[in-house]
């Protein structure tokens, strides 16, 4: 055949996907995972990620770093979601589910963190982003990243020790 199965799926560093569809297919899963870690809800994560792609689509060709921009858009969308949800009397988005898998106590503890503090932990310890990249993603200064991270770990410890 034509060897299509042999195409290297991982584009070279800095390479730009040729079409928005390629970009979408390449980034969707990692963005979905990020949004899930930030919201703890699969349906909400899917919705916010679709919405973020929609926002970025009209101008993605003009962006120097579309992936970083998309990540920032997703992080922002998750943060806005938490602010809205707080207004909504903190009702669970998902009813106690039949298919809800078991989560460990660390996962539950994360859910109780302030959204920005949780975001710093996810960006640092899941995505391994540098402080500079975290600051850019969250739209804050590097010093703020440091202190958010410090407080987030302290919060986690307090919740888990309880």
């Amino acid at each position: 055949m034509n060897g299509m199965g042999l195409v290297d799926p991982s584009p070279a560093l800095g390479a730009r996907p040729e079409s928005f569809e390629d970009f979408y297919r390449e980034q969707h899963e990692s963005m979905l995972r990020l949004a899930y870690l930030l919201t703890h809800s699969r349906p909400v994560a899917e919705d916010l990620v679709q919405d973020s792609f929609l926002r970025i689509q009209p101008r993605w060709e003009e962006l120097d770093a579309p992936t970083a921009y998309l990540r920032r858009t997703v992080a922002n969308a998750c943060y806005s979601y938490h602010r809205r949800r707080r207004r909504e009397d903190a009702l669970p988005v998902e009813p106690p589910g039949v298919d809800q898998p078991e989560h460990d106590e660390m996962w539950d503890a994360l859910d109780r963190l302030d959204p920005r503090r949780r975001a710093v932990l996810v960006l640092r310890y899941y995505l391994d982003l540098s402080e500079a990249d975290i600051a850019e993603t969250l739209g804050c200064r590097r010093g703020t990243v440091k202190s958010l991270s410090h407080r987030a770990l302290a919060d986690l410890r307090r919740i888990l020790d309880r």
Binding site: F20, H28, R33, L37, P43, D47, P58, D89, L91, L153
Partner: protein, 462 residues
């Protein structure tokens, strides 16, 4: 626990949880508006005011039944691990008779919109452009009457624009969630007022006539329902990836509910028994809500009227919770989560609105008090079990929102104009639309704020 141990545990948990999340195989297709998508079927309510025109009277006068249809399928099967919060669709009201041609009529103008070069390019490979005709300009003075979306990005609006030679029916399409719009071919008739697409290719314009397209709107064909003749206007229609259903005005013993596969127009009476109680209601406005294997039918005019419920494939008698208190409007956010708003005594631009929730598909209800009094109840939408938006119009056009399952209400939109509402519904937990008069409104934040959409052409309007 040391810091390192804490971080180790944190990293493990994050990796484990993330690894359970994978892209659905059809993620891009749903994004691009192809195939099985988050279905959006807002609904129309048509009041049967014209049913009683003197000329049509006869002892056996046809019961013109206006029907509200809501249908929201669950997520696609490939969509794992989403037990809650399915995207819901919902209902909206519209005034106007079932026999009217929809819209406010049109004056002057230049003939129906026909977009340049309607190339029926059903491109198999989903480009950002997607299938369907090439878009043309947005006609000046366009006013909307109906809206439908098949994905977060792709949707259509039916309406009219001033033209020299009627019919002046126009259709606009967006592929970027409403940011930009393009004119596309419209059915050559002014006797359609509602529009529903099931996929990016298959759509129907209806009310009272029925027209269909299976090439994304490049070409439209007139559809005649077998045996229903010209005297049975289509008053409601739902379209989902799994099939389309149409409701004709209720005449004598004729079937009112028709079903067809999506990709063609093979219409046949849907399984439909045991609703005689409703058929006996003169001048009734019935409302039908369907969802997956469940369904609910109510008489929307008579206080305390009977209802029916679709269970295990057939309709059985069912009593909506309004009892003798009022007439129901329904919205469903899942197969089992139902919100019923009972319109109580109306008068002077006010109406009591009793709200009840069911988590078992309508067997039992929890009363949740009343929504604000202002305005006559015209529509209900519920994207998730805790969120309800009610459309009301009287002295003003108002949307009320409750984000705590009906415990508290806020006015999320208010326009002193007082135009009627139609097609209120959600395409996702955060995105929703409604038509107020001839304007399209949109929410991007789950119903908290609603803003008018301007039909601007754009580079990505296509």
């Amino acid at each position: 626990m040391t810091d390192d141990e804490l971080i180790d545990q944190l990293v493990q948990t994050l990796r484990l949880e993330a690894s359970a999340v994978t892209s659905p195989p059809d993620a891009w297709e749903r994004f691009a508006g192809l195939g099985t998508v988050v279905p959006f079927r807002p609904v129309r309510v048509r009041r049967a005011r014209l049913a009683l025109t003197a000329g049509a009277v006869g002892a056996a006068a046809a019961l013109i039944v206006a029907v509200l249809v809501v249908r929201s399928a669950g997520r696609s099967p490939t969509h794992v691990a989403s037990p809650g919060a399915p995207p819901a669709s919902s209902a909206a009201g519209s005034s106007g008779g079932t026999g009217s041609s929809g819209g406010t009529g049109s004056s002057g103008g230049t003939g129906p919109l026909t977009a340049a070069a309607p190339a029926p390019t059903a491109q198999a490979g989903a480009t950002a452009d997607g299938p369907g005709p090439v878009g043309g300009p947005v006609p000046a003075g366009f006013g909307a009457s109906s809206v439908t979306f098949v994905s977060l990005g792709t949707g259509w609006v039916l309406g009219t624009a001033p033209c020299a030679a009627p019919p002046c029916t126009s259709v606009l399409r967006t592929r970027d969630g409403g940011r930009s719009w393009a004119g596309v071919p419209a059915p050559p008739t002014d006797r359609v007022s509602g529009l529903r697409f099931a996929t990016a290719l298959d759509g129907w314009a209806y009310g009272p006539e029925l027209w269909s397209t299976h090439d994304g709107g490049a070409h439209w064909s007139r559809v005649t329902l077998p045996g229903s003749g010209a005297g049975s206007p289509v008053v409601a229609l739902v379209a989902a990836a799994g099939g389309a259903e149409a409701v004709t005005a209720w005449t004598g013993g004729q079937p009112v509910l028709w079903a067809s596969p999506v990709g063609s127009d093979v219409w046949a009476p849907a399984p439909w028994v045991g609703v005689e109680g409703l058929a006996a209601a003169p001048g009734a406005t019935a409302r039908l809500v369907e969802q997956g294997r469940g369904g609910w039918l109510t008489d929307g005019v008579r206080v305390g009227a009977a209802g029916a419920r679709l269970q295990a494939g057939s309709w059985v008698p069912w009593t909506p919770p309004c009892g003798a208190r009022g007439t129901p409007q329904l919205a469903a956010s899942s197969a089992s989560d139902l919100v019923v708003v009972c319109g109580l005594d109306a008068g002077a631009g006010q109406q009591g609105k009793q709200v009840a929730f069911s988590a078992d598909g309508g067997t039992t209800f929890q009363d949740r008090g009343t929504a604000p009094l202002g305005g006559i109840l015209e529509g209900v939408a519920s994207p998730s079990p805790s969120v309800v938006v009610i459309a009301a119009a009287g002295g003003a056009s108002v949307l009320y929102g409750s984000f705590d399952a009906g415990r508290t209400w806020t006015t999320v939109y208010r326009d002193p104009g007082g135009a009627p509402w139609r097609d209120l519904g959600f395409t996702s937990p955060t995105r929703g639309v409604a038509i107020e008069g001839t304007a399209l409104l949109q929410t991007l934040d789950g119903g908290h704020t609603w803003t008018p959409v301007t039909f601007t052409a754009g580079v990505s309007g296509r």
